[in-house]
Amino acid sequence: MTTEAPVKSPSTARFLSQLDMTAPPLEVRNLHVEFHTTSGEAHAVNGMNFVLSQGETRAILGESGSGKSVTAQAIMGILDSPPAKITHGEILYRGVDLLKLSDEDRRRVRANHIAMIFQDALSALNPVFTVGFQLGELFRKHRGMSRQASKAKAIELLDMVKIPAAKQRVNDFPHQFSGGMRQRVMIAMALALEPEILIADEPTTALDVTVQAQVMGLLSELQREHNMSLILITHDMGVVADVADSISVMYAGRVVEDAPVADIYARPAHPYTKALLESIPRVDLKGQELAVIKGLPPVLTNIPPGCAFHPRCRYAKDNCKVPPEPPHYDVDVNRVAACHYWREVIES
């Protein structure tokens, strides 16, 4: 295996010189991702838009199949293609479109500039290598460090994510850690090369509730320390309320509402967001039937015309059922909602 020289290659230097540090860390414009399946093209992401500002935590919220993980993998450039295909759009990292980079430059962006944490740390870590090997690998391959120096770095990282007895545990295998500790190892791995942007794809879903809070706490602490921008993908409204600055609510591969976190909780402007908030169990309504969103999320090979949410929406009128899909109406300065009747929704 070749080691990557610490000296920047000409193409890396060219890439770095293109970066515009005044541009937002990440901007996704009109992103479309399709999956080729035997039952037709599945439209996983249909015109995704958002801007991630410096130091911001943006939550991407949605049900399973709403396209949130696919968006994250598209940003990382780790979609399995085939079957996935990015058909449209731009992913701008500091003003540079990642989709136009060469494979080699794109590869260097990963871990160095944008890193990702996955949901299930047990399967996301390689079972046959020690965590020290898997952490150290980043320094050996991206920084050309020696085995010994990279191991010292790995211990440092384990210390940083507060794993006790890091010196001994660096030689342990992933299955010897508890769930929370494994997710800490994942976080350490993502932060190893000090990326500007961290994407956390449901980082606490596989954990116990008590451990969830610890891991989220660690994550936001490290985010502040390293001045990173964070994309938090989740379906858990509770996690979002605690740590996010702004939220993009996704439905059928599209952002249906984008707003600062406080606004969305106080006065949702999209019927889907409203329904999501109403479906959170509340102690003061104990004994009553839980609110559910009736119907099922659309099949991605056959998304309803017009507003994709209209079959499940109690505000829907005839113009919601025909194309074009509702545009992003400006609700407030930093706030958009893709609903023709957002005024009614926000007032009710």
Partner: protein
């Protein structure tokens, strides 16, 4: 790790004893049901009772338990174990030679042919499986799938005879007719049977034939394992780490994919070492398999039993090594 090995070795002992006892009980039952095998040695002639008794004594066949149907003959089993521990497998019924001598003479051929077959199987099988698995659904994948199915479907005696006839005899004869052609190839590698002048080269084709079926199995196993692992979560993590594609495949995917393959290869080695009756017979290789087949035909029970005992022992040792190797490869086993 140490405790795992110790536990595994301790499990090995009852397995060996159980296997040996089963073998012993089957032979004892055979004698109890069909009578003293010494009788068969005389063919048409009728031996005098004195001759029978003397020979039975010499072959250790006059224990009264051998006439009681169903008696497990524990005493004889103990004696046999002691003898085997002292590397004494008894003497052959017909040739009056020590069974260990007969096996010792045949073993080098079997080891050579097994090694050739094993290297072929492991190397080509893994390579084909990896290439097919990386591009599943591609041309190479279909080629590997179809050709391995063919190899598995054709019985080894058909494959062996066809290759001997067309490659070693017909093609080889043409090359042997050309005096300028190097003899190591025309008379060695392309020999139609074992040639003492070319102790390795002339076992080349038999080795390939012997390894062919296992190669197909290895290739398929590697392919399945690769296909499973290239989509694994930790491979996605490796990509997110910005590693080079070569390293992702060569280190992360391959290491995990080879765990079941190595296990199956280890068992194969045990099987190959136990002798290959069909292949050795087709290519006239004086190895363990052919000796076993000949002895079975002439009714030389002690040689057959000796070979089966040895084969079982080799197989069990190979299994033990595989289990230990498995723990080395997969840390999840090690720290159970």
């Amino acid at each position: 790790m140490g405790r795992y090995v110790i536990r595994r070795v301790l499990q090995f002992i009852p397995t060996v004893l159980g296997t040996m006892f089963l073998l012993h009980y089957l032979t004892s039952l055979g004698i109890q049901l069909t009578g003293n095998p010494v009788r068969a040695l005389f063919g048409d002639r009728t031996p005098t009772p004195a001759m029978m008794a003397a020979l039975s004594e010499r072959l250790n066949l006059n224990d009264p338990c051998l006439t009681q149907t169903g008696n497990p003959c524990i005493g004889l089993f103990g004696e046999r174990l002691v003898n085997i521990a002292q590397w004494d497998f008894g003497i052959s019924l017909t040739g009056q030679r020590e069974v260990t001598d007969i096996i010792g003479a045949a073993l080098p051929y079997t080891i050579r042919i097994a090694l050739i077959g094993f290297v072929f199987e492991a190397f080509v099988g893994i390579l084909a499986g990896v290439l097919a698995g990386l591009r599943s659904g591609g041309f190479l994948d279909y080629f590997v799938k179809i050709s391995t199915t063919l190899i598995i479907a054709v019985p080894i005696f058909v494959l062996g005879i066809v290759i001997r006839e067309f490659v070693a005899v017909k093609f080889g004869n043409q090359l042997r007719a050309d005096p300028n052609f190097p003899e190591i190839i025309s008379r060695g590698f392309l020999a139609a049977g074992y040639k003492p002048d070319y102790p390795w080269a002339s076992l080349f084709i038999p080795g390939l034939v012997l390894g062919a079926t296992s190669l197909a199995v290895t290739a398929r196993l590697t392919r399945t394992s690769m296909v499973e692992n290239v989509r694994a979560d930790y491979v996605r993590t490796a990509r997110a780490k910005g590693l080079m594609p070569r390293r992702i495949t060569g280190v992360h995917t391959l290491r995990n994919s080879l765990i079941p393959v190595v296990t199956s290869l280890g068992v194969d080695l045990g099987v190959l070492m136990g002798g290959a009756v069909v292949t050795e017979t087709i290519f006239n290789v004086p190895g363990i398999g052919r000796v076993a087949a000949q002895s079975a035909r002439t009714g030389d029970a002690s040689v057959v039993i000796g070979i089966v005992t040895l084969a079982a022992l080799i197989f069990l040792v190979a299994n033990l090594l595989v289990d230990i190797l498995y723990a080395v490869l997969d840390p999840r086993i090690r720290y159970e």
